[in-house]
Symmetry: C5
Subunit: 363 residues, 5 copies
């Protein structure tokens, strides 16, 4: 396997997932993200149809009773790199260490695990920042009977719509339980994928135009970047279809029958998103093909110019060369109109060549 002895890349120790995990027991809570260690903050929303309360805390123990409280509560854990805090939270809520490991593993693939008393899900929030770059953030959800715990790294998220609908009092969400909240959060993540798709689509359209107008190497580079972006987005989004499908078919008592039509609606979105990604993938591959074809065209243009110039002037220069020879005995040189006859000959040749290339449609 050691095919290339020289330039073996030095895997950077610092952010190497493998280095941090190797040798540890499964269930060891190991934060894998790149953020500096910060204290976790718990932002809680407790609500039922009549009332809604919002507060921040960092005292986990006070929240233990919420798990089976009379209201529905949403506990939003912001900041997941304080491993001992997470471990304590896990103990208070009785969470499996394997779950906690995945909750702080920012590289974790999207998934749903059914632990019987609670459901656990990992997802990727994707959204555009102000420079319209795609941002991906890890998010993990735990669904208890009356509580949803959400783990995320930063305050910024895609759930402001859900918060607003909660605060609005009117609307379905206040009347339903934790399972609907769980769905609404997933739905909100999925809804934002459409924004990503639109951004990819816009990039493809711009690149298509540029490939046709001006196929510079920089354009090829950006096509390559686009292909990688589609591959990465696909990696994060693709599992959602199966996850939501499995959630829909699961027999967990935590998902009420009323929430199922909404999950089916979300499944619809996932199917459509996967199809669109597949199409964008094929389009991005077509872009490179188009680029190569336009490159060939450009090359053809260049070669035509060279061929036309050379084919016209090389023979003419040869003729001039003939009459530049210094032979004593060259009768043409002494005729009165020899020079003009040669000019005439050259002009005829020149025009003949132009006609020839015109007919070949090279001009």
């Amino acid at each position: 396997m050691a095919t290339n002895k020289k330039k073996q890349p030095s895997v950077k120790k610092k952010n190497s997932r493998a280095r941090r995990k190797i040798g540890k027991a499964p269930g060891t809570i190991t934060y894998l993200g790149k953020r500096e260690k910060t204290a976790s903050v718990l932002k809680v929303i407790e609500y039922d149809e009549q009332k809604l309360e919002e507060f921040e805390t960092s005292d986990v123990d006070a929240l233990a009773s919420f798990r089976a409280g009379p209201c529905t509560s949403w506990i939003d854990v912001v900041g997941i790199n304080d491993e001992s805090f997470i471990e304590h939270l896990g103990k208070v809520f009785g969470l499996n260490p394997l779950l906690l490991e995945d909750a702080v593993n920012t590289e974790q693939r999207p998934k749903i695990d059914d632990y019987g008393d609670y459901l656990f899900g990992v997802f990727k929030m994707l959204y555009l920042d102000e420079q319209k770059n795609i941002v991906s953030e890890h998010v993990a959800l735990v669904l208890f009977e009356n509580t949803v715990i959400l783990f995320q790294e930063l305050e910024e998220d895609v759930f402001s719509g859900v918060r607003n609908r909660l605060r609005a009092k009117t609307g379905r969400i206040r009347a339903r339980g934790a399972d609907y909240l769980f769905f609404a959060l997933i739905d909100s993540i999925i809804d934002h994928y459409f924004e990503i798709l639109e951004s990819i689509n816009a990039k493809i359209e711009i690149l298509e135009e540029e490939v046709y107008q001006d196929p510079t190497p920089e354009v090829a580079h950006r096509i390559q970047d686009l292909k990688k972006e589609v591959l990465k987005v696909r990696k994060w989004i693709f599992p959602m279809r199966e996850l939501v499908g499995r959630l829909l078919d699961s027999e967990s008592k935590l998902i009420s029958k009323d929430t199922q039509p909404f999950l089916r609606d979300a499944l619809d979105h996932c199917v459509e998103i996967n199809e669109s990604l597949q199409i964008y993938r094929e389009m991005s591959m077509s872009l490179m093909e188009m680029y190569m074809s336009n490159m060939s065209n450009k090359m053809n243009e260049v070669m035509k110019v060279l061929t036309i110039m050379a084919s016209i002037f090389i023979p003419l220069t040869f003729i001039a060369g003939i009459y530049g020879m210094n032979f004593k005995n060259m009768p043409e040189l002494n005729t009165e109109y020899g020079y003009y006859v040669v000019w005439g000959l050259m002009i005829v040749l020149f025009i003949g060549m132009l006609f020839y290339f015109k007919r070949k449609q090279w001009l």
Copy 2:
């Protein structure tokens, strides 16, 4: 992911599906099409084997009783961007808000949902306009026991054949119930797909000819357009096979046993359409390959002309150059026939070169 900081495309706010949907609760009726807001019109056909009545109205409430009336009725809702009207209609007929959201979502992927008391389907009508361009229009169908509701954006549709058969009195359609009407509408949509396939096939044949005759960059561009067209048509048509198959296997009491052979016939068509699309896709990819091969041929032609001209005249010019030198002592220059000997030499070289290139089959 932020691979390219400079040219991030600004996703157009106006028609962004994501922007309009993000933050809204599922089941919120949001028209996604590009048409100006217009009032919806209801075109009703009420019929049984004996009589048929046609009328237009905009009074939804008057139609509530049709749902389970003694005749079969077809309620054609033309115009779906008045969201409050659609919501009212939904209440009158007892339709699920998720259904209504999909009914006006012009971007909705084709699908069939079974709501127990009624079936819901979304489809894409595809037809050619007068300029032979492919037009795609969103259409949604609800099947009640005795009524079919059809949602569409414009009056123009692919159902004139069904209307004519209804008016004709003779024929199977008047004798059968709403489920046969439901089938007949889907069948009519599918029948029009063959027209689209024929148009794609015709484009492929034209492009094949052009690629062979005259592979200009414009042809490459049109091949690219064709590939995208096939991808888009595939996206709209591909789900039909599974939908019709699922309808056939469903145990909905709304689909009578007599209608099943007709659904099987429609399924046949869907299988064939998908196969043809697959073949067109492979053909359109072959077109680009053929284009590249012909481009290479052209380039080869250009290079042969250049090489022949240069290879013949550069040595001749060199010989002329030799005898254009001004050395005092160049005995050849003073011989009487030197000039003619050189001419002879050049002509021999010239003919030799021609023979050489002839033998190489470059001429």
Copy 3:
């Protein structure tokens, strides 16, 4: 979708399947082939182990009793574009209108339908005509308990082997019922596919040779034709595997247990044919790759000739140009052997260049 406003191809009205079918009710008998209308002829073979009778007729009603007669009969309907005749035949034998529509639909994809009392199958006969071109003909079969009806457009078919075996009296076919005849006809269709495969294989071998010897654009064109031919043959043959498999697994009482080993044998052939087609498809794609590689080689050859000629003679011409200058003070010009020294220099350069290109293996 309307990506290209200018050259929309006009879909030919005359042979457009879509145009002829759109708006018609399913089950409407619509001949889709290109043949002129002709009267249908019924060629009947009635046989049991003792006797065999052959006759032609056009009187359908006389045959009604054959369906459940004491002998086995094969009714070969030659000519299927007289739609009213077919409709009448359908009534006499109690056939479903959807079946009749498919029986005369020459574009119908191969399939098997089980109508309970009878089985219906559509197939493509493929054979080589005298010019070794592939001919495809539509054929439809109905299997009753004691009768097989066969629909085809022309007299010419692939069943002469079956007729001969019937007439021979000895042999299994006379001793068995209609289901064995039904199998024998399908088997005969499948047997002829091997001839088509051999013809495709021969074409591939010829093209491989030509690509290597002489990759002209005409060869590229024929590779393209071959790829399309393989795609079309695949479209017609590919469904056979599933059809025969389904026939084998079906629980139709019309197929006796004794016929099953023969169907399994036919299934074997189908599997093998599909595998071979897959291989031919990959080979035909490789041909184009090989073509491009040989084109590149040719181009390389051309460029080497140009480069060698130019690299050798351009410097020599430069030297000649130097001594063609008219400066007063050029001491070399007046030396006695200057001219010969320059010739020597040029010859040395010339030989040096030859060595250089030899070493680079360009010569």
Copy 4:
């Protein structure tokens, strides 16, 4: 379909499988190989744990009792093109005509058929001849309770290991029944496939080296041959995985429970072989890509030489041309050092050009 009227290849009648099979009833014994007709020889090994007897015969009838004899016997039928002999053998052992047809059909795809009282298998022996070319030979096996019949064309086979183990007396094979012998023969065929894989692997490694060192058209041709070889080997080997898997899951009473772990071991080999073939296939496709990339590199080299030579000497020649003009009034010509100044200018230009191309890394 008749896309190319001119060069239709004439399918060779003599070896055409289709021609020999068309029109014949299924079960007709038709030898399809290319060997001259020879008498079949039966090589029998009869053994139990105590004794082993080997003899040759051509008297089939004498062997009829072996089928259910007290010992295990292996009847090796060498030579299968005497169709009447095979038919007689079939009758003696009560074999189905469809089985006999497949047993002598040298084109038969690998398969296993369960006939209740006996199992039938067709396989391809692949081995390397002395010139290391891949040889493929048809082999068919019938497993009775106490007898294995093996059909092959030539004496040479891959079973000498099995014979030696039988003769050795020690070892498992003498202690077990016909089913273990049946397995051992299949295992021996599979074991030889690894030799084929190693030979393909070696070819790929050689070609990889050659593509890199010297991408001549001949190398491209051999890559193409390799790709075809992999396709053909895959066609013969690929079905083995499914066959052995089916044998393992079958409920035939002929396969004892003790033999199952050995079949599972063989299945392991089949899975691995198929994976390796898949990898070789991808590698052989990569080879062509690599070839094209190296061709492009070579072309680039050629063009750089041309461009450097032309770019350096064409301007110099132009300067020489200037001072070769015959204008009366050209003051430079008469200066004392004009010639040297021009030489200086040319040398400066020459060196500047060299620097320019050096900086561009073309030198």
Copy 5:
């Protein structure tokens, strides 16, 4: 098949797996690796929650009682090429010969076999050596009720993490039985795959940069090496997903219910690894495409330089050639400013050409 008679590669006898296995009975223990014969060493760890003992031995018989002892023991067999030692060990522990054959077959594909009383698994350890090259080592595991036997070739392995956790006393692993140890060893193998993925990812990133900066043939060669590396790693890792999945679903009494969540966690990792490998594979194929596109760009650059130089200087040289002709009667030659006029004309032409190429964006 013998397509190329000349250069048949001689399959190296020495390391040929086929040669060593052909003709042997299944279950014959045949070491297939490349290491010299060495004595096997048994490194034993015996532990329960209270105590842990470590020792080395080479006396197999003394260990026979461990199989069902009161403690859990891990017997690490280092060195597997002493075939008689392995055979003896097999007898002592009652292992199936087929298992032993696979345990020493260093080419064995990863797999899990359930032998009822014990489970058997073969895996590939992959890790980076000090030069960051990928090393692959064969490892085989047997799980008894209270004992795990591990077969490996060398002392160096990926299990130091497991050993440390065992010695640490605290931690889950000491409290659980042999099945958890079995899992922990597999988990440790899988954890190291992430290191391999990171190394491949790093190589891709380096190559991407180089393809863009400097697409030399050496880079193409390394891309090819990378593609082969990904194929090989995929071959070793890909089966793990199915294996772990099967282990999870198996009903073996050897795997306790408490170990299942850990297996599910390992399955998660396998799914993610396979997805990443798929992405790396697509990326490595894109690299070659990118390489070709950059090569084309470079070629284009070269041709532009040539065309610009030739197009500018060839016409100028022609003009100089004109006035180098020796015609008696060339009036321009005798005018006072003729020379300067020609210079002016040439400069105008030169600048015009520069503008022309500027406008074409070739400069």
